[in-house]
């Protein structure tokens, strides 16, 4: 019995010292293996005096059970600390940059065009497009500007070498295209986005090529009050709710009355800054009631139908939105510019 006690102490001490899987396995073989010390003890039982056998056998079996349990416990602890050590070794500097997927970005003009399209789509305006290379007739004459009309000076025109064929100076010829395609006895609600061209020196503020979005609504009960409503709605959706708007009388040969719409400067909130030229207002679009002559040219009877039209420049809107100081960036295709947006 004395031996048993000694063996137990010795085994438990050895177990406590076993720190890894190899040491544990060695311990197991030494004590609990087929040739281990505990089994050796059990195997030696027949050699004992008969009277001692039952008690010794019981004690030896108890020792075997105790050691087995201790082993399991110890093995689990070792496994856990091993896992913990492994995990600890996997720790990282979480501030290291991640692995970024390479995704392209939308051109800032196209971002704004999508915004504009979306806002007007919700108001029932659909996109309708027409050509960049246009006839003088569509670009000017049918828009109430006969040859030689002084209002033509408002648009510096690129002429092509084909007489009577020009680069459209605005998207307004789309009004005639749309009326002739969709009319003459149906209401119309379209926007006409597209590229326009002007014979203008290219500077930080003016480009020879730029987008314009024209809008056209024609119906039997369309009024200037409706035009104001649409502009207010658009401005509040594009520039954020609560915008103040100002409507000024203006002149376009293809609208009468004509209006210029200003929104309170989004940068200085109307206090005056360099962007709004200290007026507190930013011009956002030109608009007006479609001129009776233009309605007639589109196939509509101006006595029965009325309509409004408006036009705006997405590049200008984008410049204000992102604080872009120079319009020449838009079509320069410098990725260092393009990758800053969206």
């Amino acid at each position: 019995m004395h031996d048993l006690q000694r063996l137990r102490d010795q085994a438990l001490a050895g177990l406590a010292a076993a720190g890894d899987e190899t040491a544990l396995e060695a311990w197991r073989i030494q004590y609990l293996g087929r040739k281990g010390q505990v089994l050796e003890l059990l195997r030696a039982i027949p050699d004992l005096p008969a009277a001692e056998r039952p008690a010794f056998g019981q004690a030896a079996n108890a020792l075997k059970g105790e050691l087995s349990a201790a082993f399991d416990e110890r093995a689990q602890a070792v496994a856990q600390s091993k896992l913990a050590a492994e995990l600890a070794a996997e720790g990282v500097d979480v501030t290291l940059p991640g692995r970024r997927p390479q995704l392209g970005r939308l051109h800032p003009s196209n971002q704004t065009l999508r915004e504009i399209n979306g806002i007007f789509a919700a108001m029932g305006f659909q996109v309708y497009t027409s050509p960049d290379v246009e006839t003088d007739e569509l670009n000017f004459e049918l828009l109430n500007m006969p040859p030689g009309h002084p209002a033509r000076d408002m648009w510096d025109t690129f002429y092509t070498t084909t007489p009577g064929v020009i680069m459209r100076t605005h998207t307004s010829p789309g009004q005639i295209h749309a009326m002739r395609a969709l009319g003459p006895d149906k209401p119309i609600r379209v926007i006409l986005p597209g590229m326009c061209y002007r014979y203008e020196q290219v500077t930080a503020r003016s480009e020879m090529m730029f987008h314009q979005v024209e809008g056209l609504a024609i119906g039997r009960r369309i009024t200037m009050a409706d035009l104001k409503g649409v502009i207010v709605e658009f401005a509040n959706q594009l520039y954020g709710a609560g915008r103040r708007l100002r409507f000024r009388c203006s002149h376009f040969p293809f609208t009468e009355p004509s209006v210029e719409a200003d929104v309170d400067c989004i940068l200085c909130r109307g206090k005056g800054c360099a962007i709004c030229k200290y007026t507190g207002w930013l011009e956002i679009m030109g608009a007006g009631m479609v001129h009776p002559t233009v309605l007639r040219n589109g196939g509509y009877d101006p006595a029965e139908w009325s309509g409004f039209a408006f036009g705006m420049g997405p590049e200008r809107i984008t410049m204000l939105k992102h604080g872009i100081s120079d319009i020449r960036y838009f079509f320069g295709n410098d990725v260092r510019f393009l990758e800053q947006f969206g």
Binding site: R105, H107, N110, T162, P187, G219, R248, C249, D334
Partner: protein
């Protein structure tokens, strides 16, 4: 758009505005359509509502004249400085307790001068430093010159910040009140307005005054006799006609009344040419016109004030020419179809003829340039030849000069469209054409000429000969328009009663007549107004014009804001737009940056794209419909749509392919960054024989260059992108659009590309092209020595696919078996052939096939290549057994052997 400058002091001559804040005035005018772009403050402190910070203001804008330091002064005595020859001592009364002595070197002051009124500054006054660039202010300090103390200063315009003029001191009118603060006497604000072309009537002080009077409902001051005479007259038919001169002095012949409906001439005798008084010069300068001499200044003054350009001829020179012509030197036949109705009498009188220029005719205009004239231009001629381009510029020969004694003053009316065309053709824009070319009333000629003649006489000491020679073959008629409140409501969406419409229009000097309702509805309210436009309104012809007048006077802000309640038009799906944006999204998803480049290019761009050829052989449409064109279409630059008036040769025609600008963008970016992945969706422009307008198909261009991965610590793969990166993008795009199965790639040979190039076809029709640029093209575009892969595709076939259905394939619940297949084939065998053979033999059990290795080298015989495929087999209805797969596999191997001569490897 035409800019005019309106000094408020001048405006105040015609309408009382002294109580109005200039800002308020500017805002009201702006809202009514007369946009005030800027206010220039002269000697006044800007009103508190003015937002522009001082450093941003115009020259002198920041200089409000101090009321206790700057006064109207009077020189009571001028003498030489006892110790300095060039300097004068002047004694100045300025309202202070005792007069002050100043030392001055002003060239316009002489010893003995007295009674002159000046702008006087006392010591401590803040002035503009006359010797500094621009507008730098300084404080006037006491100074002593050779023992004498100067106690103040007589100021020049520059010192007061009025203009750059520093030649002499300002001499004020004799009636300037001594001691008045200068700010009250000379202070001003100038409205700089940019007016739209319909506002020709407002390009003058009187025109703006009319607007102010109507907008603020104030009376127009009709202090000038000319203005008083026409007060209240609306209809041109009722305008007073001038008396004929008692003694004829000129004969007028209008041969082209369509171009010159009215010509009037007034004679001013015995003028003395010299400088104008300060107040005239001051007003001209503030209005942006340089003073010249009293006669020319008078014409400019009246043009600025009334809007009628006039021209002053030297009458003696006209007479000399008439005599010369009479003596047989002249060439002009005198056959008056429409003349002032006098027969030529003795002695010889000048004859002024309005006619079209003769072919090849030339004339030297007063700027000294000889002008080539064409028969669509209106000439003013006499019996000897042209003396002016009508309404554009006078001739050098008959111009007034220092010796001029008598002035023949022309005030005429010209066809605005012809005038605009002539001034553009001769490149002679002027203050006169800015007005004539927008249309001004022929009725304006007489009152403006009268005003001008009297002013000329006043300024130049002359005498106006009574009577006017007036030739007016095409009299102006009034526009009469009927309008109803119902029509106003229909357009504006706002109720405006007839009485208010009438009141507004009458404020604008329209004549309004109520039309009683028809007899059967006599009890109803008057609903129709017959409106006659005043003679100076040529821009009104339809009810909409009047509606705008009503709206802008009421104020656009008063119009309600409503949501359209009109019927919503039929809506449609815009597949073209949706699919374009879907293509854009897919390409962005593939890692490409969206871009937009100029549609206008230079000729060299297409040439550079064909730099691999010695002499470029351009692509052609060759009679094909645009949809069937194989890309790229690098057309001969000479055949592209070309601009008549390009800004630069680098942008003088329209592109036929997106690739030129795309490669340009690639080159520009590769100078700044190492990796570029771009795409553009844009139009190309293809001239179509027999069509005026080009086809404008939309294309998609893609460009890739640089390392596959954006270099970073995690992915240091700097393998360059190549043909297969590009093809992968296109395959992915086609696959996502459901088009990959109907697409085929075939080798392409095009000088744009090196050997790695392919055409892509969709159901056998050309869709586009892709490839790595030929090294010669790279060099032509200055690209770095690196791979660059570009593609161009038609958008329309891609767009057409968007509405196609993609049908779901059932998912099998039975296990799949994967097998590898390594083959040895001849180099000439294409991957597509191998794949097709495998797919055909594999049948429905073959679910997937991936080429995972392509190998040439040691273990492969020369002329052969090894292809290794991973095959996936699966059935929908059972678990496949090895035997099932083995059967298919054997079939595949057999088919490969028959069709492409493939042998199994290892």
């Amino acid at each position: 758009m035409t800019v005019i400058r309106v000094p408020l002091s001048w405006l105040n001559d015609f309408v009382d505005i002294r109580d109005l804040d200039p800002i308020e005035l500017a805002e009201r005018l702006t809202l009514a359509g007369l946009e005030v772009e800027h206010i220039r403050w002269v000697g006044l402190n800007p009103s508190p509502r003015y937002h522009v910070p001082p450093e941003r203001m115009d020259e002198g804008d920041g200089l409000g004249w101090e009321r206790d330091k700057l006064f109207v002064g009077e020189i009571t005595r001028t003498e030489r400085h006892p110790d300095a020859d060039r300097l004068l001592l002047a004694t100045v009364e300025y309202g202070g307790v005792k007069p002050m002595t100043i030392i001055t070197g002003a060239p316009n002051l002489r010893p003995g001068d007295r009674g002159l009124k000046i702008a006087f500054a006392v010591i401590g006054a803040r002035l503009v430093d006359p010797y500094a660039e621009g507008t730098k202010t300084m404080v006037l300090k006491a100074g002593k010159i050779r023992g004498i103390q100067s106690e103040g200063m007589a100021c020049s315009e520059k010192e007061l910040g009025i203009s750059e003029e520093h030649e002499g001191i300002i001499l004020l009118p004799a009636d300037a009140p001594v001691g008045m603060p200068l700010a009250d006497y000379l202070g001003d604000a100038v409205l700089e307005m940019d007016l739209t072309p319909n506002l020709a009537r407002n390009l003058n002080i009187l025109g703006v005054a009319r607007e102010v009077a109507a907008l603020f409902n104030r009376p127009l001051k009709r202090v000038q006799p000319e203005l008083a005479r026409i007060a209240g007259i609306v209809r041109p038919e009722a305008m007073p006609r001038p008396d004929q001169p008692a003694e004829p002095f000129v004969q007028i012949v209008i041969e082209a009344p369509d171009l010159c409906p009215r010509y009037t001439a007034t004679l001013i005798r015995d003028v003395q040419i010299g400088p104008s008084p300060h107040w005239v010069q001051d007003r001209l300068r503030k209005a942006g016109v340089r003073p010249i001499n009293n006669v020319v200044d008078a014409t400019n003054y009246v043009m600025l004030e009334w809007g009628q350009p006039t021209h002053a001829f030297d009458y003696d020179l006209l007479l000399e020419r008439a005599i010369k012509a009479k003596q047989g030197v002249g060439t002009e036949p005198v056959l008056p179809p429409s003349s002032s109705g006098r027969s030529p009498t003795e002695p010889v009188l000048p004859t002024i003829i309005m006619r079209r220029a003769k072919p090849g005719e030339t004339m030297t205009t007063l700027d000294g340039n000889e002008r080539q004239l064409t028969p669509d231009m209106l000439m003013i001629a006499d019996t000897l030849g042209p003396i002016a381009v009508g309404g554009v510029m006078g001739g050098l020969e008959t111009e007034v000069n220092e010796r001029t004694r008598h002035v023949l003053l022309e005030a005429a009316s010209f066809d605005f469209i012809n005038n605009r065309r002539t001034s553009q053709a001769l490149r002679l824009p002027s203050e006169a054409t800015a007005r004539f070319s927008k249309g001004i009333s022929a009725e304006l000629t007489i009152p403006a000429a009268s005003r001008c003649a009297h002013m000329m006489a006043e300024l130049a000491g002359g005498r106006v000969v009574a009577g006017v020679e007036d030739c007016y073959p095409l009299p102006q008629h009034s526009a009469v328009v009927e309008i109803t409140p119902a029509e106003v409501q229909r357009i504006l969406g706002m109720d405006v009663p007839a009485s208010q419409i009438q009141e507004i229009l009458e404020r604008l000097e329209f004549a309004v007549e109520e039309i009683p309702p028809p007899a059967d509805r006599a009890a109803q309210r008057i609903e129709t107004l017959r409106v006659t436009a005043p003679w100076f309104r040529l821009d009104v012809s339809i009810p909409a014009d009047l509606i705008e007048e009503v709206a802008r006077v009421i104020g656009y802000d008063q119009i309600p804001t409503t949501l359209m309640d009109d019927a919503l038009p039929p809506q449609w799906r815009n597949w073209a737009l949706e699919s374009k944006e879907r293509v854009r999204d897919l390409l962005m998803g593939a890692g490409l940056q969206d871009s937009i480049s100029y549609a206008l290019i230079g000729a060299e761009l297409n040439r550079k794209l064909l730099a691999a050829q010695g002499e470029p052989v351009y692509d052609t449409l060759a009679g094909r419909a645009p949809a069937d064109a194989p890309l790229p279409l690098i057309l001969d630059p000479e055949t592209l749509v070309r601009l008549e008036n390009p800004l630069t040769p680098a942008a003088d025609r329209l592109r036929s392919t997106l690739l030129g600008s795309m490669v340009n963008a690639l080159a520009a970016n590769l100078r700044a960054v190492g990796r570029v992945a771009l795409f553009e969706i844009g139009k190309v422009y293809w001239p179509i024989p027999g069509e005026r307008l080009p086809a404008e198909p939309e294309h998609v261009a893609i460009a890739l260059a640089g390392p596959r991965e954006a270099g970073a610590w995690l992915n240091r793969n700097d393998t360059l992108m190549d043909f297969f990166d590009l093809k992968g993008v296109i395959e992915e795009l086609l696959e996502r659009l459901g088009l990959l199965a109907s697409a085929t790639f075939e080798p392409a040979t095009h000088p744009l590309f090196g050997p790695k190039a392919a055409r892509v076809l969709l159901k056998g029709k050309p869709l586009g092209v892709l490839g790595e640029l030929h090294p010669a093209v790279r060099r032509a575009f200055d690209l770095p020595e690196t791979r660059a892969a570009v593609a161009e595709l038609q958008l329309a076939p891609l767009a057409a696919a968007i509405s196609a259905r993609q049908t779901m394939q059932p998912l099998s619940s039975f296990p799949a078996i994967k097998e590898d297949l390594a083959l040895l084939v001849d180099e000439s065998v294409t991957a597509e052939q191998v794949e097709m053979a495998i797919r055909q033999a594999g049948g429905s059990l073959l679910r997937d096939l991936v080429l995972f290795d392509l190998y040439r080298g040691k273990q492969v015989p020369a002329g052969k290549k090894s292809l290794a495929y991973a095959l996936t087999f699966q059935a929908d209805d059972k678990t496949l057994k090895d035997a099932d797969v083995e059967k298919v596999r054997r079939r595949i191997v057999a088919r490969l052997g028959q069709t492409v001569g493939a042998e199994l490897r290892g």
